[in-house]
Symmetry: C2
Subunit: 553 residues, 2 copies
């Protein structure tokens, strides 16, 4: 086997081009060394190569500012070195145990070599002719996940798992496409063909609504619903404003009564509720809607019931905690992201259909692929060509097993409870949303300000909260830029403060390597950063001074 | 560094779980060995591990038939062995030089280690907080590709490439999502907000059409248009039947006059032509529509002009052949798949917008990400969370350079011409569509039958073509199952036979390792398989005998 330590295409030389497709970089080349580094010690690679430093985006953009197409080929090693210096060094260490701000966590080590097999095979899951065994495998994974959620009997799965005309669900690149697919199915099923009408899929939305006599369609979801639902409403022609946001209670769960009232109001306007969406793990606070009550409501409205469990779905692996999602088995469709709490690399979401025949509402065929009667997966997906990510989900399920996932889930929930307790013990922090799964929100509020807030009227609370928002933003940005740890921030309406919208820190505790010590350090760093604030804190102090004086006057 | 040759999660043991996230499989483990095998000799791995054999789908399904969630963890090595035996062995060797049936080709070797870096970093491109340098890099790649297609000046790119409120395009998992995104933009731009109306994105399609006074929307494209366009029409609420298929000429290029007439007819019915789509590289025959004429038509209709260059876009890298796509620079949006003729792994498509402000029609924001004013890529994409595939496109552009790509493209087109000549030289084959890019179609027709067909009337032609269709299907299936080589098949209306629809072999000649010898062998194998046909060929012989007898009577 000939090896080159550094390959480059010599222009006007086809031989060198063939080399690019046939000869590996030598082990001692830059790329060869990096590859070994990752194989042997992934954490080491990430810790050393990602340089945690406060580089401005503008500085990074300068390295990626040339719009000209590179004319001449570049040596692989030279290019790799550039990537290491400019791209890898300035990436986000999503796997760091102190990166607790978003839903991207560490990957199990076996995922990397398995991903390499997947990419080497370069299968295209749209059709059997370019995937063969990957198609049955993906169907099996859909079956397993369907089983996890809906627990049908064995006959059911033997009938439907490998059926050509039905589908238990669809793999897609992420939860957004999964949600769009679910609502696409719901829309087409509602406005399907009948004796007089060829169906919304063929005729379009305008004649469909005319035929069925509706003035419009609506989707109801809690105000904590993911923004992908608004995107779905836009894409599907329903309109973003017809995704109706329903208020939540103090635990960030949707108010079912309010949703029922909204549905009744819409009905009076002859606007059909196409679907209601329950959330199993809100993006911002990790709460679960009362799914059973929503299922009842959907039944009484005779509409589609979708559950967005992109985040929380994996909780079903835990015998201890799965009851939190009770009612999910009554959904018509469910979204779950494997690249979130299932620890699979980015790019693997899925939607499941309780009744496999629902998928026929979005069925499509073509002459050269997806022929009628074929088992091509592409006949029931929003995407066309797509990679074999199902192999990675399958591998995670097999290697970790349900019991392995239960360990992970239980640990995450316990860790979140620990952090909530820790925040409650600090006099200068305020826990804003308690963790139901493993997400929680909080903010830094000096003790004295807390006291002031408690006795303040609405107007004063608003003044104080605005200052606190500045402070929260300041701390979050500084902490992110310092690079030791990362929490995210969001804005939430708070029932404690007359539904004022406040800015809060948001943490997601899914990385199994996050220790209690790290959580203590995160709070300590935030408290320290608060002291450095040149604007909000002095203003708050001033405010406090004025009010305290007033108080004693 | 401790290494385990075989890791498994011991249930109820958190320590073993941590190991899964911190310790690599040892080099001598099954997975370790496979990984080295791929690194050292990708082609060897694929050739040896993929067992080309006629296994029925039903047999494969048996290995993937259990719907039960695996309860207990499995050793990584045990699982890897299962994957090798059951999944890898029964995969499709898409990189084989004799796999010339679909658009998935071999990958340059450097793609594999680079993919590993990408997966190790596990960035989420939806927002800067989970991607940092990947965001500017993706914007740069969009800029480079925009430049390739639209060739704007440097000021333009300096203004827009890293602009927060505009977007030169969007990465997505493939051409289907790219086409949907383009038509989504077109629809929202057509039915945008004005003084009296809040826009289709907010209000939905029904009030939008009412406000603008249209009875419906339509999209016009050649009958060779990709099925993703029908999917887009369905999803966007336009309706599949309102994707109007226009006939093609003998060179499989859309008849612009017929499209103009169709547009006029629609206008009379008060149906607005929302977009016309030109194809730069039809999926089935690889032809390019007359893009300049289509651009003129779009201008006169005042509608969006989209070019689906998913396949053919890469031709722009070739100075020698780029003129084939003349007029593409006048498109409003263009789809290009990097996982096709740009030799990037599955999962990387992109759509480009000529005017970057078009992207604002699909803009979205949320509180915890994609905040207004942020440069988060997710504010202008159909997908939400998605992987950093842009790094691989960037790497391909840098390592190969335009000149490297030109070599590849020129070689593919030359190879296709060689194969067409070869088919023309064989007396028992009929070339059905000549290659304009590197795709062509043909079929096996014994010389004597060719003669008969030439003199036959329409009815007899139909009888013969039906038999030939059986034969083509038979040969294609046998060849695929034998596993030595793969061509695909499709059905095309043929002007030679009074627009009868015939079944043809379809080949895509993009793999730089496909030799002339392989092409000769493909034809030889097909001729041999034809002799084995137990049904179509004897029937054709019988038919021939009858007619020849008749001829002499």
């Amino acid at each position: 086997m000939v090896k080159h330590s550094n390959i480059k295409v010599a222009t006007a030389d086809l031989e060198s081009l063939y080399r690019i497709f046939t000869v590996a970089e030598a082990p001692d080349s830059t790329l060869g060394q990096i590859e070994r580094e990752i194989s042997e010690n992934l954490a080491g690679f990430l810790n050393e190569r990602i340089v945690a430093r406060a580089v401005s985006l503008a500085d990074i953009e300068r390295d990626f500012s040339c719009s000209g197409m590179p004319e001449k080929p570049t040596f692989v090693s030279e290019h790799t070195q550039f990537l290491l210096d400019k791209l890898v060094a300035n990436s986000v260490h999503t796997a760091a145990p102190s990166f607790i701000g978003h839903m991207t966590s560490a990957l199990p080590y076996f995922m990397l070599p398995l991903s390499k097999i997947m990419i080497a095979l370069n299968q295209n899951l749209v059709k059997i002719e370019t995937s063969k065994a990957f198609t049955p495998l993906e169907r099996q994974v859909l079956g397993m996940m369907h089983n996890l959620v809906f627990e049908q009997n064995d006959d059911f799965y033997q009938t439907y798992m490998h059926s050509e005309s039905d589908s238990l669900g669809a793999f897609c690149s992420g939860g957004t496409l999964a949600n769009i697919t679910a609502l696409w199915v719901a829309r087409n099923n509602l406005l399907k063909a009948d004796d007089q009408f060829k169906g919304v899929n063929r005729a379009g939305l305008f004649p469909a609504l005319t035929h069925y006599g509706y003035n419009g369609l609506a989707v109801l979801v809690s105000e904590r619903g993911h923004y992908s639902l608004a995107k779905a409403a836009d894409v599907l022609g329903i309109g973003r404003d017809n995704l109706i946001a329903i208020h939540v209670n103090g635990e960030h769960k949707v108010l079912v009564d309010e949703m029922r009232q909204a549905a009744n109001e819409l009905e009076k306007q002859n606007i059909k509720v196409m679907a209601i969406v329950g959330i199993a793990g809100t993006t911002e606070t990790g709460n679960v809607d009362p799914l059973n009550e929503l299922a009842d409501l959907a039944q009484s409205l005779n509409c589609h019931f979708h559950v967005d469990a992109a985040w929380g779905g994996a909780t079903l692996f835990s015998k201890k905690h799965k009851a939190l999602l009770k009612g999910i088995e009554r959904a018509d469709s469910v979204t779950i992201d494997a690249h979130k709490q299932m620890y699979v690399p980015m790019g693997s979401g899925l939607v499941l259909f309780k009744r496999p025949e629902l998928a026929s509402e979005i069925e499509q065929h073509a002459e050269y692929v997806l022929r009628k009667g074929s088992k091509d997966l592409g006949s029931h997906t929003l995407e066309g060509s797509r990679p074999g990510m199902a192999m990675l989900v399958y591998s995670a399920l097999k290697v970790l097993g349900r019991q392995g996932y239960e360990l992970l889930i239980n640990r995450s929930l316990k860790q979140a409870q620990y952090f909530a307790d820790l925040i409650n013990q600090q006099s200068d922090f305020e826990l804003v949303s308690k963790p139901e799964l493993c997400i929680l929100t909080y903010r830094y509020v000096p003790k004295a300000i807390q006291t002031l807030l408690a006795s303040a009227d609405e107007t004063l609370q608003a003044v104080i909260n605005e200052k606190l928002d500045d402070l929260t933003r300041f701390i979050q940005k500084c902490q992110r830029e310092a690079g030791k740890s990362f929490v995210s921030r969001t804005r939430l309406s708070s029932q404690v403060y007359s539904n004022q919208t406040i800015t809060v820190f948001r943490v997601v505790l899914a990385n199994p390597l996050t220790t209690e010590k790290i959580l203590q350090d995160v709070l300590a760093e935030q408290a320290k950063l608060a002291q450095l604030s040149q604007f909000a804190l002095p203003e708050l102090a001033q405010l406090l001074k004025e009010r305290q004086v007033n108080h004693y006057q």
